[in-house]
């Protein structure tokens, strides 16, 4: 099966989602800047969100006719709201951290170790 020759389907969405997710994880793992880490988180969340939307599409439903196909989208909306809330809290922590330590390097924020 060649994805490039297939018509747009679930698999394509999933591939994009996976790429987004892995980019996000790599971003979280390699960035030392706290804001970069937060951006990675956003990528991870959106990668996952893409999967929800893809699985929620009526192409995937066996009995698509009976479904209005909103359940995946609904969860995606939830995730977006969650991401917004999380970003607000995380930015507040980051700001406070910066106020106290004059840096946003996550490697130096290791006071919670062990």
């Amino acid at each position: 099966m060649n994805l490039l020759t297939e018509p747009i389907g679930i698999s394509h969405y999933l591939v994009v989602g996976a790429v987004l997710f892995v980019s996000g994880v790599v971003c979280m793992a390699v960035k030392r800047n706290a804001l970069g880490v937060l951006m990675g988180i956003e990528l991870v969340l959106n990668g996952a969100n893409l999967n929800f939307v893809a699985f929620g599409s009526k192409f995937l439903q066996k009995n698509g006719a009976n479904s209005i196909g909103l359940d995946g989208s609904l969860i995606a909306v939830f995730v977006i709201v969650l991401a917004a809330a999380e970003a607000a809290v995380a930015l507040a922590i980051t700001l406070n951290y910066y106020n106290n330590h004059a840096t946003v390097d996550v490697d130096r924020a290791d006071e919670l170790k062990g």
């Binding site: 793992a29 390699v30 880490v37 990675g40 996550v106 490697d107 924020a109 006071e111 170790k113 062990g114």
Partner: protein, 800 residues
């Protein structure tokens, strides 16, 4: 009038009123006026109402049953005809006469059960009553005297209305005891006593008698120990209680002997639950079929003949007769009688249990007057009178001898006593001895008549002595003298009491109450000893006792009221007692003079009343018990024929005693101190009360103390050591246990904890605090899990 329903109601209410008063004072006593002043009014009101009810009962009894005069006269005439000869010499005629007499005379009695407390097999315990003329007489006597004494006590005890400094009690810090007044408590116990005493007389079965018997005992204990802080008072209370226990032990044996064989406690015949007749004790012992003569009941014969019955002889009528001829079961009857009498010996302070009564004078004087002379101690005599039909001749003879010993012994001790109340206490013992002697020689009427008359004059004497003590604050007669000028009412009412107790009167005609009752005792004793010359000592004791009685009573009167004051200070402070105390004295004095008289025209007298209560079958003379075959008991009415010799003896002995006392203490012809020197050994012997206290100390108290000391030593040395050894052993074992606990159990737990701790410490290294590392771990972990699941999860197993 239907006596069968009204009498139990009247007398039952009379019994319960003092109980109500007791309960009210018990709970609300201290709140009845200042220092409980109202308690005396309540108690007096209760007993006064009881007295009223008793007299209503007496009057209704007399109105139904008459005064008994006609019966007495007819009977007396009939006996006189027979008695020209020796009564035992013509038993046939005597017997025939008895038959006629028993058919005509049916004893009036009312008996019934109020409530069944419990029924255990054949043992039935009930609250029942037994009312006959004796009950009525006792009720009237007890309530009347108790009412007067309540009045008297409300004056006598008035010191207790405020706080008291007891000069006879010295505390450890050298001060005298200071305490609150206990006025209400005195009346509380007095009410309880009245309830118990009336209940005792009201009782219709011997168990109920025993219960009330113990109740009067405990009241006596409380009242003797009223001044509980005084060592002498608490000792005296204990002594009274313990000595009475000795007697009660015998009484319990008697009860068991009666119940074990006869299976009933009831005095009179009752009706069972199914309407069947249940014969009481008296009818079992003296069956109508046997003309109410004493015979061993069938049940006792069967008990004693258990061996024969086991051997196959059926308890038929013929066999029972044979066995009865062999005196089988007679011993049981004697044991029952002696057992009951044993209780009476304790309660009535007879030799050898007389030692508690003199010490009981530690109580307040109204108590001595009511409890320890007039009523409670007479309960023993009452019970002997009540149980008279059950006593075998051997038991009666024992009673007579115990009575004779007691009356002589106590009278001699009274000669030397200097404590005014102790003289009266010994006099009480002596008079109780007279009553026992009278009952023991067959004088049923004489003994109980003396009980009634004695109650009046002895309570009078005690209350007079109380009046003297109230005025002088001492019991010691050697500090008194000449008091008749200061307290004339007390002096002359006491003179009446002395004359009554010595039996003063115009011979063969009339006299003070004691004259009639003591003469009838001496007549009966003479009549008895005429038939049984071997027992002449009984008559001599009675006659000699009369002389001594007169001597010590007038010694008391002269020492207290005549001559020169021996202690000027006490004399100056003496004063006549208040009216509330003097009026009861005068009322009692009237009774002490007149209670022995026969009311003109009506034939009403105590003896005629008592005659109606005479137990069936005891009127006739009878001869011989099973063992003492030579014993002959005379018919009590025959003794009146001995009026002249007995009356002369009684008069002469009393006069001799009186003259001797007057010679010593009135005219002072002889100096008492010289006589004391002359008869020093005898004087010492008497002043030490025949050494009875010392004797009992030596043979009972000391051995008991010795044994208990040894036991205490054993306890300390052996048992304590065993216990200590055990404790030591337990300590050792627990030390080892402790080591095991610490080493192994604690070790195991600590080991687990250490493992957990080190595991935690090593896991801690993972927590680096580096955010990026965490992300790495998550990513790698997820991938690792995914790989693991892919490799090891069996798809097919999960799918199906």
């Amino acid at each position: 009038m239907n006596l069968a329903s009204t009498l139990p109601l009247l007398l039952g209410t009379a019994v319960l009123l003092p109980l109500i008063s007791f309960v009210l004072i018990l709970f609300f006593g201290p709140r009845m006026g200042s220092h409980g002043k109202g308690a005396s009014a309540l108690a007096t009101g209760a007993i006064g109402t009881s007295c009223l009810l008793s007299f209503i009962a007496l009057i209704s009894w007399l109105s139904v049953h008459g005064t008994g005069k006609g019966l007495h006269e007819v009977e007396h005439g009939a006996v006189a005809a027979v008695s020209t000869d020796h009564p035992a010499a013509n038993p046939a005629a005597d017997h025939a006469h008895d038959l006629a007499e028993q058919e005509s005379v049916q004893k009036a009695e009312y008996t019934g059960e109020l409530y069944t407390l419990g029924q255990f097999g054949s043992l039935k315990i009930t609250i029942s009553y037994y009312i006959d003329a004796l009950t009525i007489a006792m009720f009237s006597m007890v309530t009347l005297i108790a009412t007067l004494i309540h009045f008297y006590a409300s004056g006598y005890m008035h010191d207790e209305l405020h706080d008291i400094t007891d000069h006879e009690v010295t505390l450890r810090d050298g001060h005298h005891l200071h305490r609150h007044g206990r006025y209400y408590r005195f009346f509380q116990f007095l009410s309880l006593f009245c309830f118990s005493m009336l209940g005792l007389v009201f009782s219709g079965n011997i168990v109920m008698v025993f219960v009330f018997w113990e109740l009067v005992g405990i009241c006596s204990y409380f009242l003797i120990g009223f001044y509980i802080e005084r060592k002498s008072a608490s000792n005296a209370a204990n002594k009274a209680f313990i000595v009475n226990r000795v007697g009660d032990f015998g009484m319990i044996i008697g009860l068991m002997a009666l119940w074990g064989s006869l299976g009933t406690f009831s005095f009179g015949n009752t009706v069972g639950a199914k309407g069947e007749a249940e014969p009481g004790l008296f009818s079992l012992v003296r069956t109508g079929a046997n003309h109410h003569e004493l015979q061993v009941p069938d049940a006792m014969v069967k008990d004693a003949a258990a061996a024969e019955i086991a051997a196959g002889q059926a308890p038929t009528e013929a066999n029972l007769t044979t066995w009865r001829k062999e005196h089988l079961g007679y011993g049981l009857l004697v044991v029952a009688g002696l057992g009951i009498f044993c209780g009476c010996v304790g309660k009535s302070a007879q030799f050898p249990l007389h030692v508690w009564l003199p010490d009981a004078m530690e109580g307040p004087t109204p108590v001595s007057a009511l409890v320890h002379s007039a009523t409670m101690v007479a309960a023993g005599v009452y019970l002997v009178g009540r149980f008279y039909p059950v006593f075998a001749p051997e038991v009666l003879l024992t009673i007579a001898y115990i009575g004779a010993i007691t009356l002589f012994l106590a009278a001699t001790i009274a000669i030397t006593a200097l404590d005014i109340k102790r003289v009266l206490a010994y006099s009480t013992i002596s008079q109780l001895g007279y009553m026992m002697l009278a009952l023991g020689v067959g004088g049923w009427i004489a003994g109980l008549f003396h009980l009634i008359t004695h109650a009046f004059f002895k309570s009078l004497l005690f209350m007079c002595s109380g009046s003297v003590i109230h005025a002088t604050h001492t019991n010691d007669m050697s500090k008194m003298g000449g008091l008749r000028h200061k307290m004339p009412y007390t002096a002359y009412t006491m003179l009446v009491g002395c004359l009554a107790i010595m039996g003063a009167g115009i011979p063969f005609l009339i006299g003070f109450s004691g004259f009639h009752s003591k003469d009838s005792i001496i007549e009966q004793a003479l009549s008895f000893t005429n038939l049984n010359p071997a027992h002449r000592i009984l008559f001599l004791a009675a006659a000699g006792g009369a002389a001594i009685t007169a001597f010590y009573m007038f010694r008391l009167w002269y020492l207290t009221f005549s001559g020169q004051p021996r202690d000027q200070h006490i004399y100056d402070h003496a004063h006549e007692s208040p009216k509330v105390m003097v009026v009861p004295l005068m009322v009692l004095a009237v009774f002490a003079i007149g209670i022995g008289w026969t009311m003109p025209f009506t034939g009403l007298s105590v003896t005629n009343l008592l005659e109606q209560a005479r137990p069936e079958g005891t009127m006739a003379g009878f001869s011989g018990g099973a063992w003492l075959t030579g014993l002959t008991y005379p018919n009590e009415h025959l003794s009146h024929n001995l009026n002249i010799p007995a009356g002369t003896v009684a008069f002469c002995t009393a006069l001799a005693g009186f003259l001797l006392a007057t010679a010593f203490y009135g005219w002072k012809l002889v100096s008492p101190s010289e006589a004391r020197q002359q008869f020093k050994p005898i004087y010492n012997f008497l002043v030490n009360k025949w050494y009875f206290d010392e004797l009992y100390q030596a043979i009972f108290v000391q051995p008991v103390l010795f044994i208990s000391r040894r036991i205490a030593e054993f306890d300390r040395k052996v048992i304590d050591n065993i216990i200590n050894g055990l404790a030591w052993l337990v300590r050792r074992v627990s030390v080892i246990d402790d080591w095991i606990d610490r080493t192994f159990v604690d070790g195991l737990v600590n080991l687990c904890a250490r493992w957990t701790f080190s595991a935690g410490m090593s896991l801690r290294n993972v927590q680096t605090g580096k955010l990026r590392q965490y992300v790495m771990f998550i990513a790698i972990g997820t991938v690792a899990l995914f790989i693991l699941v892919s490799f090891f999860w069996s798809y097919s197993a999960a799918a199906h």
